[in-house]
Amino acid sequence: MPAEQTTAAAGDTPGNGSRADSTAAREALNQVDHRPGSAKPDPIVVADNVTRQFGGLTAVDVEHVEIQRGVITALIGPNGAGKTTFFNVLTGFDKPQSGTWSFNGRPLSGVPAYQVARMGMVRTFQLTKVLAKLHVVENMRLGATGQSGERFLSALLQRWGGQERQITDKADKLLERFLLDKKRNDFAGSLSGGQRKLLEMARALMADPELVMLDEPMAGVNPALKQSLLGHVKSLRDEGRTVLFVEHDMDMVRDISDWVIVMAQGTIVAEGPPDSVMANKSVIDAYLGSHHDQDLSEDVEEEIIAAAEAEIAGTTKTEERK
């Protein structure tokens, strides 16, 4: 495992570079205990006793968690650990059975998703939700908050032209930054998976959020785009925003996160800086599986496939006998 990690770190110079000019917020994390639910010096999000059940299954059962302001926090864990559900609860897209959580000290229980977004906590989705039949620039314009033209009367009386020009300027700047300016007048549905992720991130920035919540930003993105996407996530932090993201891609987690929270079976089982969490052998074995830190070598992969095929063949046979 250490060998793997050095390779990853060595192959990623931009990551090291940005770590060098770390801000005070990140330094403050050095004093934080590496244990689940540890208190942060300047938390932007605090959640207590949040539980969410689906029928008999407890998807989320978080006793206490704090998210540090101004840093990139990763939320990781095996499939079914409740990461996305927790994300949904925090952003108002799902209602937990119990618990309190707050953003900048303002309690969020019962606050609908759109108001959470207006407070400055904007999310993206695991399966990108670009508006396929709207142009890219229209997608961007939609992201801006406080538009008077979105009120019925102002819309009818056409009192929105000036603001629309400002919004468009802002949208064009962001599109340029996210390398989407050439796609400005295309339907968003024509974008590739990675471009959709970029568009979603850029659109979220139209609202000037304090906290950006990214649900699996790397899922379905081709490797060529990954580096650029990583850079963009880091740039969010560098311009003073807080980032919380859910991710399966361990390289990305190691590369850009300042703090890692590990969830398993709905609870938080470990916290700490990436190196410390990843070195935690029990976390690795229990929650990430013993193959997490190495790419599946071909023979291991074949072994798994063979086992799976045998199993499928077996069940088919028994089924046929029935």
Binding site: T85, N88, F93, D94, F125, I312, T316, E319, E320, K322
Partner: protein
């Protein structure tokens, strides 16, 4: 897998035929038993003329067997309260009141039959003072007033409720069959099928077409033409379901047509089929050759016609058969798994298209059977299914769209509600009250009674 499916289908069909034939012969046998039980209080003979008569029979239930009550004045009023005829019961306890006008004039009307309490023997108390009869058929209608001891055995509202409950159960069973088909199709394909009502009508029409073929089918001297017609309607509706799926819906699924687009296609299909039906069958209300007028049995103060009982039994048997199929067989499990997650089912080796096709066949056969049986109980016209469609929707949504038990539970709630609501509101509001309940339930429990809330995001 193939062999298993065929065998199940064969068992299914055999079981169904058995039920229909058995109930057919039961129908022939049962009334004689009933008549024997109340031999003293004779069943009135139908009058042999062109006009419609109302035959009022008054029986004293304190005696066993029941005895006819003589000299009771009966009054018949039309729906506006106008007295149209009077009669006094004779020694056989029967009074015959001829309705004025020809049979055609009276079709579709309803009349209220009252008995004059003053004219009853001193120590007796009628359990029911008036009954309403709807003239739907060109034949005499008989009405029975059981007379009990002065204390009065049943209260008016209780008896009414019990009577409505029985009618509601019969209707619910039919509604449940139709709703189950809709729900299964929705569950596996995501299609909200607005032409499901036309599948119901198809069953009624198919049964009618077979029934109208010249000659009668007899087994051991019992005329089973209509029973055969109903079985034929069941089978033909299954074929029609296959045609629907193979000819229209499967190609649309292949094209990747969205569910909302398919919903609109189903509206077009509904308009198309409904007008084709009217083209072929005309706009008038029709009845099958048999069962047009049968004597109701009395179970306590409740009246139940043999055909209602048969319809309810066949329907119940069908529901039990289908739910058992879905619950316990491989095909049923495959169906439920496709309903839950088509992609995953496909990946685990289930032939999703085949399951969907079978669901269409089964769903349409159920709907068609419901239509044929509904036609049997109350007659039918070209839009019987379309009129039923909203109640079918209400039942499935109430129980939870796409759930099997939900559709049945929803159908029974809606079916009983439509009938029982007439205790409180005029009969013309009975559909309104059922639909209102649907909206209220959605307010409280959006996913339906048995539906699961979906995970968002």
């Amino acid at each position: 897998m193939h062999v298993g499916l065929t065998r199940i289908a064969a068992l299914f069909a055999a079981f169904f035929v058995a039920v229909v034939v058995l109930s057919g012969s039961a129908q022939a046998a049962v009334p004689s038993v009933s008549a024997g039980g109340s031999a003293e209080c004779a069943l009135p003979e139908a009058t042999d003329d062109d006009s419609i008569s109302i035959l009022v029979r008054i029986c004293d239930r304190r005696d066993e067997p029941q005895t006819p009550v003589e000299g009771v004045t009966t009054i018949v009023e039309d729906s506006s309260g106008q007295v149209v005829g009077e009669g006094t019961t004779g020694a056989d306890g029967t009074a015959i009141v001829d309705l004025p006008g020809t049979a055609i004039d009276n079709l579709g009307q309803s009349f209220t039959v009252r008995i004059d309490e003053q004219s009853l023997p001193e120590d007796t108390q009628p359990e029911v003072l008036e009954r309403t009869v709807a003239i739907n058929l060109d034949s005499d209608q008989s009405v029975t007033f059981p007379i009990g001891a002065a204390e009065g055995a049943g209260s008016g509202i209780g008896v009414q409720a019990a009577q409505l409950f029985v009618g509601g159960i019969v209707f619910s069973v039919l509604l449940a069959m139709a709703a189950l088909g809709l729900s299964m199709i929705f569950g596996t394909t995501g299609l909200t099928n607005f032409s499901h009502g036309e599948l119901v009508t198809f069953g009624a029409l198919a049964a009618f077409a077979v029934d109208q073929l010249p000659g009668a089918i007899r087994v051991g001297g019992i005329n089973i033409t209509v029973a055969v017609a109903v079985v034929a309607a069941f089978v033909l509706s299954g074929v029609f379901g296959w045609v629907n799926d193979a000819g229209l819906w499967r190609p649309l699924r292949r094209r990747g047509t969205g569910v909302i687009a398919m919903m609109i296609v189903s509206i077009g299909l509904s308009i198309f089929l409904r007008n084709v039906y009217q083209y072929l069958a005309g706009a008038q209300s029709r009845n099958y050759s048999q069962f047009s007028a049968t004597q109701p049995w009395e179970i306590g103060p409740i009246l139940l016609t043999p055909k209602e009982l048969i319809v309810a039994l066949v329907g119940m048997a069908m529901l039990v058969a289908v739910t058992s199929l879905l619950q316990f067989t491989r095909l049923g499990k495959a169906t439920r798994s496709v309903a839950d997650n088509p992609a995953l089912s496909s990946a685990t080796g289930i032939n999703v298209e085949r399951v969907i096709n079978l669901v269409w066949i089964g769903g349409a056969a159920l709907a068609g059977l419901a239509g044929a049986l509904l036609g049997l109980t109350q007659g039918f016209d070209y839009q019987i299914g379309f009129k039923l469609l909203l109640l079918i929707f209400a039942a499935t949504v109430l129980g939870g769209l796409g759930t099997i038990w939900g559709a049945i539970v929803g159908a029974f709630i809606i079916g009983l509600l439509t009938e029982l609501s007439t205790l409180l509101v005029p009969a013309e509001f009975k559909f309104v009250s059922a639909l209102l309940v649907l909206i209220i339930v959605l307010l409280i429990r959006p996913q339906g009674l048995l539906g699961r809330a979906q995970r968002v995001g």
